[in-house]
Symmetry: C3
Subunit: 342 residues, 3 copies
Amino acid sequence: MGLALGELAGLLGGDLHGDPDCIIGSVASLQQAGQGAISFLANRAYRKYLTATRASAVILEAAFADECPTATITVANPYAAYARAASLLSALPAKRRGVHPSAVIGAGCEIASSAWVGPHCIIEDGVAIADGVQLAGGCFIGRDSRLGADCVFHANVVVSHGVRIGERVVLHPGVVIGSDGFGLANEHGHWLKVPQLGGVCIGNDVDVGAGSTIDRGSLDDTIIADGAKLDNQVRVAHNVRIGAHTAIAACAGISGSARIGSHCRIGGGAGILGHLEITDHVVITAMTLVTKSITRPGVYSSGFPAQENASWNRNAARLRRLDRLARKMRKLEQQLAPSATD
Amino acid sequence: MGLALGELAGLLGGDLHGDPDCIIGSVASLQQAGQGAISFLANRAYRKYLTATRASAVILEAAFADECPTATITVANPYAAYARAASLLSALPAKRRGVHPSAVIGAGCEIASSAWVGPHCIIEDGVAIADGVQLAGGCFIGRDSRLGADCVFHANVVVSHGVRIGERVVLHPGVVIGSDGFGLANEHGHWLKVPQLGGVCIGNDVDVGAGSTIDRGSLDDTIIADGAKLDNQVRVAHNVRIGAHTAIAACAGISGSARIGSHCRIGGGAGILGHLEITDHVVITAMTLVTKSITRPGVYSSGFPAQENASWNRNAARLRRLDRLARKMRKLEQQLAPSATD
Amino acid sequence: MGLALGELAGLLGGDLHGDPDCIIGSVASLQQAGQGAISFLANRAYRKYLTATRASAVILEAAFADECPTATITVANPYAAYARAASLLSALPAKRRGVHPSAVIGAGCEIASSAWVGPHCIIEDGVAIADGVQLAGGCFIGRDSRLGADCVFHANVVVSHGVRIGERVVLHPGVVIGSDGFGLANEHGHWLKVPQLGGVCIGNDVDVGAGSTIDRGSLDDTIIADGAKLDNQVRVAHNVRIGAHTAIAACAGISGSARIGSHCRIGGGAGILGHLEITDHVVITAMTLVTKSITRPGVYSSGFPAQENASWNRNAARLRRLDRLARKMRKLEQQLAPSATD
């Protein structure tokens, strides 16, 4: 658990200015780092901490290297290089293997010998668990679901029946995959349940944050493509499709049958209505409500920033009558138009 | 698992145009359906798929029957008829019965012999579980709670103590019923917990989606009436009352002591403040904030639709000064009023 | 389980008007209370129920004592006094002790003999559980985490590794503490996970509501100070700091590295962006989006109240063009300015 700076620079593909034999044992923030730690500067807001850092080395862009009082590894993308350095230097928990005796395993399951099924897990009939999968404990995997190699499921994850999950998928505590969608037909004022017969298909390298829920499809599958990243308490409804490498921040809600492209970024608390399509490379800012399809890449918003309550109340009261105001304006314009031509 | 078309049409109360002896084995979407499958047209957006469908039959309104290249069952409400057809044609998992040996059962419980208590369930003292109830696994039922016949609780559901649940209630994974409400009294800047002494009473045929939470009452009960349907990650605070056959979409939050009528529809991400009343047959659209009681049926909104960020920022900046703008307008009107009468 | 009114008045520090020997056995609302119950008036909206109450006594402000038909205990803060009375009069479940045989306990754990580890709990290696802690069942406590005295964790709580929790902390069902933050570096369009190496530090007397999630820090800790109260489905991101005695209502989301002061109140569904600071004694109303630091105590808002849908749609359409409207207004003003000086 320690790398020479020269070796680390090589692994990160960066240029080293400093002693290549200096041993780096950990990562730390610019303010907290001490001897033997490497830090990074990725957000300019933290540049003020650079000159006083006591880190043994700092990963940063070449443009800021002159301000650094210690060794530097200069790279084009310091945050990504830091992520790699942190992975190299942090002690990941050792992988476990086997099935804890308290786990309950159904009939006809295929569980790789290199996988770990932790305490109190419930694995229903016909489940397939590939090499290296780690189920922390208290997880429920419904019948006939398939988990790809090296998936990591934290405690109390629930995967319902007939769900297909790719490789290296990480589900944080309390995640639910494959719950029934909100399919209801109204008949004479009563709600009739529409059976949810589809499944969920999750690609490789997908992360889903604590408490998020992804519903199964009603007929076809709900699909999360490779490399998509979902934060905590995200809600994905039935038959949604999320494109590759799209990131969705916490508390966002995606309604049924919405299709979100690749490389999108959905802000926290955003809401996306059902049966619409968002093209690739779209950014939705926090607490925005998307009511129509978005066909051009770009940034879209409707979250209104906080204001002192007294001013806000006055403005909100005016907004309540904004149409009237606009019509008055139109009248004034008409009234003035002839006088302008007089 | 297969029904003659004639029999199916009879069960759905529809008119058949086609071969009554054709055997239908499954349901599918218009695009995916093949030989032996029945499909449906409920949303006009999918009408474009009708002429090319390879389904053996389609459930639809009589008005569209001419456009259908295959057998039809015409009904007044195709979505409801489809829901019934899907229930008839899909293989529901067989009901289980008994108590899994890993379940922990308290003293003085009454558990019907036709009920199933799955692995790792925890049933505290004095719980009553009626006929046909299915607890998937990892469920916790607190002391003295009562579950009505044919309830289905998916994995890792938590029901706290003293909760009464009706018949055929479905709780999806991770649902929490009967947690303490957010009752706090402020005393000299510190928060004092107000004991939450009420319970929760849930009617018949209620569904609650994955990750939703329903708090117990502080003194009286929190009440969810018959046939109410809650989507995922819905939050119901203490002493809320939700009327019969009301549907609440995902991520909506209902604050303490709010009363929502029957046959309402609350949109996703909507927020309803506490101690207010919403009458029957009210529709609240997505991401709307309800701050006052609503006494007339109708549709209510305040969620603002997304716009390109640059335009939105300009508009939001103007909204910040809307009151000033309105006052300027008033001045202009006054200035022009006399000239108009000149 | 019953107190003489005189004794109760003394314990609450209030003035009694009535028979000090009357035995009070329970608390109840003004409408529901009967013989032997004490009620309270804290919210003026309920004053209408005062004159008809059949409670044996009522806790209220002196100003309303005359309207009360029964014995009164007058205090300055009736809601806080009621909270104390309810605590005194309600039967809390007896504390349990020991470790349920179905619990799975790791190596090197220190579990106080007065603590209770309920059924199907999973306690990983090196965990310390102090005196009187109560873990209801199905809880997961990750390696090396420390729980202070008299914590109460309800069913299916997950605490990840390396989390420090103070005394008397209450976690409601399904709470997740110490999950990975949403740390991602983008490299050529792909997301690279940034290891989340910090922990979570929770002070004394903190409550966290059902389904809430608190992420661990990326390098330094996420910190929740003493006496903070979080409602259900609250989302706290990595490296957030929440000050003492701050209350956060349901469904609010706090983004990464935000710092919230002491004695703040954050409304339901509010969103607070990352890397900003909110000073002490700030109130954020429901569904408000905070996009900048707030340096002055006060009340801040941006949640817009519901309106009839037809009016709202017209107003929203105008808001979409508000900047244009404002520019037109400016033109009118300029057009009129010279004529005004004519």
